[in-house]
């Protein structure tokens, strides 16, 4: 329950910090950190334009999307405090819930009959498929390390005993940051600023959305970012009391947002055709973590 509230709070300013970091990095003052939320609220109040080719799918998909992400957030724990939903294997439900939302976003993009949105949908479906092995191997490695199979029990028993496990935690953080960047279609996989439909992924999928629906979609992205930030913060929290966990949580969220901002400021977008190779790297890094865990437990034959 704690994590749900914290994630909801963090989602309010996360993108703001990213944008602020980018402004500062490029030598501008930039908007306030609540500006993205203000934009979203303005969108939520607006009316909509629907394309004449769209059907009911187009209208319900954004609601399905945000519902699936909210449901997934319910699973994320905070240190010693389990999420609202917690059972063995809950991270499988987590991944599949996110997939459910993505399914609807993809079909809603194709519902418009626009070739640009088809492009985005095609890329999104492929890239998110390629990300999933990394996530599952990572969770498999931690299941192997701790002998548990739920988010909460994995994170609460993940004590950093030896030096190599610090490295594992660091690598896992890297993988999760990258997963978050890919899932939200940010740099270096996608550049939402380009304004060239041919090179975008997520932004091009929502070209036709407007008003309330667009607001929902934009806030879902914020929620997703904060959700991944919460998972990352779990690598550093352990079984501390709430007094410490909440500051650490926000520190990690802000740190993550700054890292995201810096990444977007100083990194170039990959060529679209090279993205699959890049995403495969994540799978190999998580395999590395897996073998690290095997070494740590001396399970090699």
């Amino acid at each position: 329950m704690v994590s749900l509230i914290l994630i909801l709070v963090a989602s309010l300013f996360f993108t703001g910090i990213v944008i602020r970091t980018k402004s500062l990095a490029s030598g501008r003052k930039g908007p306030g950190i609540f500006q993205p939320m203000k934009d979203i609220f303005r969108l939520l109040k607006k009316g909509s334009v629907y394309s004449s080719t769209t059907s009911i799918i187009f209208q319900i998909a954004p609601s399905f999307y945000i519902a699936s992400v909210l449901m997934a957030i319910l699973i994320v724990p905070l240190g010693d405090y389990p999420g609202v939903i917690s059972f063995q294997g809950d991270f499988i439900l987590f991944a599949y819930l996110l997939a459910f939302g993505k399914f609807f976003m993809i079909i809603s993009a194709l519902d418009t009959g626009s070739s640009f949105e088809g492009m985005g949908a095609s890329r999104e479906s492929l890239f998110s498929m390629l990300v999933e092995p990394a996530f599952f191997i990572l969770m498999g490695s931690f299941a192997l390390l701790t002998g548990h199979t739920s988010f909460h029990s994995i994170f609460s028993t993940l004590h950093y005993g030896s030096n190599i496990s610090y490295l594992l935690g660091l690598l896992a953080t890297f993988v999760f940051i990258m997963i978050a960047m890919i899932e939200n279609s940010r740099m270096p996989v996608d550049d939402p600023k380009t304004h060239l439909e041919l090179t975008m992924i997520h932004e091009v999928m929502v070209l036709d959305n407007s008003g309330f629906d667009l607001g929902l979609i934009l806030h879902t992205t914020n929620l997703k970012f904060a959700m991944y930030g919460a998972i990352i913060s779990n690598f550093f929290i352990g079984d501390l009391s709430l007094m410490y966990t909440i500051p650490i949580f926000f520190a990690v969220q802000i740190g993550f947002a700054i890292v995201a901002g810096l990444l977007e400021s100083f990194m170039a977008r990959f060529r679209m055709s090279h993205n699959p190779q890049f995403i495969f790297i994540l799978t190999s890094v998580s395999l590395l973590i897996f073998f690290g865990v095997l070494l740590l437990l001396e399970r090699f034959v």
Binding site: S51, G89, L93, Y96, I107, S125, L144
Partner: protein, 676 residues
């Protein structure tokens, strides 16, 4: 109980005899009544068995067959229930579907009797435990399925697919016959129980060898790679309700066979487990990889059946490893996952095939590339297809998620085993299952949105007829069961726990430690599925309330400044999967015919892609081609000359007489040389 089984078969016989004497319209009704009656009888039998009264009696049989034991256990009952439900929905849907062919009276008679026969034989296969009788029934099942497939026999394609099916069915029967003969020679009886006695007294290697024979036989029926090549041909050729039934349950009889043999055989289950697991992971990935590039909707679904057989196989493999390593939790999770996924697949696959049937009947094509925007004309079919797509992708809150979850949980639980091979294998299968899930999503987002969403591509939507109530009603029944499994999986797991107990060698699964934990988890998932549905409903409701009085307008799709709209500008199925195709090109074989734009005022641009199956090409087509090349060298013998044929006969007879003589002489010579 005995009466029930005899009555069940009697109903089928009476109805098949009566069919030719009825009017065409009555034939369908009689078929439906017969199937209903049979399903009721079979269900009573199953429920009786599942409530703890296994059937075990035997007929005297003849001097050829020996005693014919009839045994109905939990495993049989589970499959009987699955088969019954799908055949029932198939019959209801089929009546509506076949109305188009009402002028082909004789053909429909044959079709209806084959349908009843296929159902009867499938149920009988589940209960008979005499190998010779089983082979006879198996053959009847194969032939009746053949007749069902070739309903439109005046199409060459259909006939070709049917004959392909017939041949491969007989290769399947050949392997089964070899395996049964092996047991028969060693034990002297046809009773299944002797498989246990025989393999129990032999070294485990013999058992593994025997299992491989059985496995190949059943794998051809089930459609494991590389024995799957008949499936993508037969499914598109058959009428929709037959495709649904075939994909839903007829291929599952192969799974039943494998499970049955696993219950009987006593051997090294670790080896068998690894074998099944590796084949299944490859089957799953290969099936879905090929499914994505198909543009014939039924063929796409057929490849997905292969994929799902892979998932079921992964469950079975895990269960076997559990037996081998005596890891109770793995047995429970593996076999429960496999058994539940068998039911799940029979539901969503028949749902998808039936809704594809609706598309075919109303739009007259199932080529994905020429469809589009059908949701306007057939909203119910679109809705049903969407439910099927979500379920087959294993997304919550639908049934596919529950069975995949059980299999995942088994893998994640046993990844921390102390055995390195098992850990590595679990990692491999997790990777496999994740890839299958992700690829399935690409495939069904493509299939659903290209067919039902957007604007029509080649076929004008005005020509598409309105859907009829009768063509969607049985589909809602399937959706109800799909939702029931998604929300109260525990009720189904309770039933599954009985056959799983057979594999774990315990009377009741409740004695397995941690089982209550698993059922608890499943129950929680059911609750969370319900919560999720409620949450989705709530967001929709909130959106509705807020935006109710908002100004909305209709405009063109954003065209990058371009305001004209053309259907041709839409993304097509091929373009949607292009990035995937590029990535997977080393594993795929796609023939591409392309006419590119040239000069300043180009002609029309054109591109066609024809996907092929690499396994089929290298494992079946090439060897057969080579064999035919070899045989063609001897065609000079067949010269149509009667004198020459008489000469062959003469040479043959001479050889038969002479060869023993010559051998004798050679022996004599060798002896003579030795003595010197």
């Amino acid at each position: 109980m005995r009466l029930l089984i005899e009555l069940f078969n009697l109903v089928a016989v009476v109805s098949i005899v009566a069919l030719p004497f009825l009017k065409v319209r009555r034939k369908g009704i009689l078929t439906l009544v017969t199937i209903c009656l049979q399903v009721v009888l079979a269900s009573i039998l199953s429920v009786q068995v599942l409530s703890g009264n296994p059937v075990d009696y035997s007929y005297a049989g003849s001097f050829i067959t020996g005693a014919i034991p009839i045994r109905v256990d939990y495993l049989s009952s589970w499959f009987i229930l699955i088969i019954g439900f799908t055949f029932l929905t198939g019959a209801v849907y089929g009546i509506q579907y076949m109305k188009k062919y009402i002028d082909q009276a004789a053909n429909i008679t044959l079709h209806a009797s084959a349908y009843i026969l296929a159902f009867t034989t499938l149920i009988d296969i589940c209960i008979v435990q005499n190998s010779l009788v089983l082979l006879v029934i198996w053959e009847m099942m194969a032939i009746s399925s053949f007749i069902l497939i070739i309903f439109e026999h005046y199409k060459t394609e259909t006939l070709r697919a049917g004959i392909n099916f017939l041949i491969q069915s007989h290769v399947c029967i050949l392997f089964l016959t070899l395996a049964f003969m092996w047991v028969r020679i060693k034990t002297g009886t046809y009773d299944f129980n002797d498989i246990t006695a025989f393999t129990g007294s032999q070294p485990s290697l013999i058992g593994v060898g025997l299992f491989i024979f059985f496995f190949i036989g059943f794998a051809i029926k089930a459609g494991f790679v590389p024995f799957h090549t008949w499936l993508p041909l037969a499914h598109p050729a058959a009428p929709a309700h037959i495709s649904g039934v075939m994909s839903g349950v007829i291929i599952k009889i192969g799974i039943f066979g494998i499970l049955r043999v696993l219950l009987l055989i006593k051997t090294n289950f670790v080896t068998i487990g690894y074998l099944i697991l590796v084949i299944s992971v490859l089957t799953g990935i290969y099936g879905v990889m090929l499914a994505i590039i198909q543009h014939n909707l039924k063929k796409l679904l057929a490849y997905h059946s292969i994929e799902n057989i892979g998932i079921i196989g992964i469950g079975i493999g895990l269960g076997c490893l559990g037996v081998g390593y005596s890891n109770q939790i793995l047995i429970v999770l593996g076999f429960s996952g496999a058994l539940l996924h068998t039911l799940n697949h029979s539901l969503f696959k028949s749902l998808l095939f039936y809704s594809t049937g609706n598309v075919y009947q109303l739009a007259h094509t199932i080529n994905i590339e020429s469809l589009g925007g059908l949701i306007r004309k057939m909203p119910q079919t679109a809705f049903l297809f969407l439910i099927g797509s979500l379920a087959i992708c294993g997304l919550p809150p639908f049934n596919g998620f529950i069975s995949e979850f059980l299999i995942y949980l088994g893998m994640f639980k046993s990844i921390s085993s102390t055995d390195f091979t098992l850990t590595a294998m679990m990692l491999f299968s997790i990777l496999g299952l994740v890839l299958i899930g992700g690829l399935a999503m690409i495939c069904f987002t493509k299939a659903f949105s290209i067919v039902f969403l957007g604007t029509p591509r080649q076929i004008s939507i005005d020509k598409v007829e309105q859907e009829k109530r009768a063509s969607t009603l049985p589909l809602y029944a399937i959706v109800a069961v799909i939702m029931a499994i998604g929300i109260v999986p525990i009720a189904f797991l309770k039933v599954i726990s009985l056959p799983v107990g057979q594999f774990a060698n315990v009377i009741s699964v409740d004695t397995v430690s941690q089982f209550s934990e698993i059922t608890h988890t499943a129950a929680m998932i059911g609750v969370y599925s319900a919560v999720f549905i409620a949450l989705v409903g709530l967001t929709i409701f909130i959106r509705r309330m807020i935006t109710r009085n908002r100004l909305t307008s209709i405009g063109n799709t954003w065209g990058c400044g371009y305001n004209g709209s053309s259907n041709k500008m839409q993304y097509t199925a091929s373009s949607f999967i292009r990035t995937y195709r590029k990535l997977a090109s080393p594993f795929l074989h796609v023939d591409k015919i392309k006419r590119e734009a040239k000069e300043i005022f180009p002609d029309s641009v054109h591109q066609e892609t024809h996907p092929h199956d690499k396994v089929e090409k290298w494992l079946i087509d090439k060897p057969i081609y080579a064999f035919r090349q070899l045989l063609s060298r001897f065609t000079f013998l067949q010269n149509g000359n009667v004198q020459a044929y008489i000469l062959y006969g003469f040479i043959f007879i001479t050889l038969v007489i002479l060869i023993p003589e010559i051998i004798e002489k050679v022996k004599f010579l060798i002896n003579f040389l030795n003595q010197i």
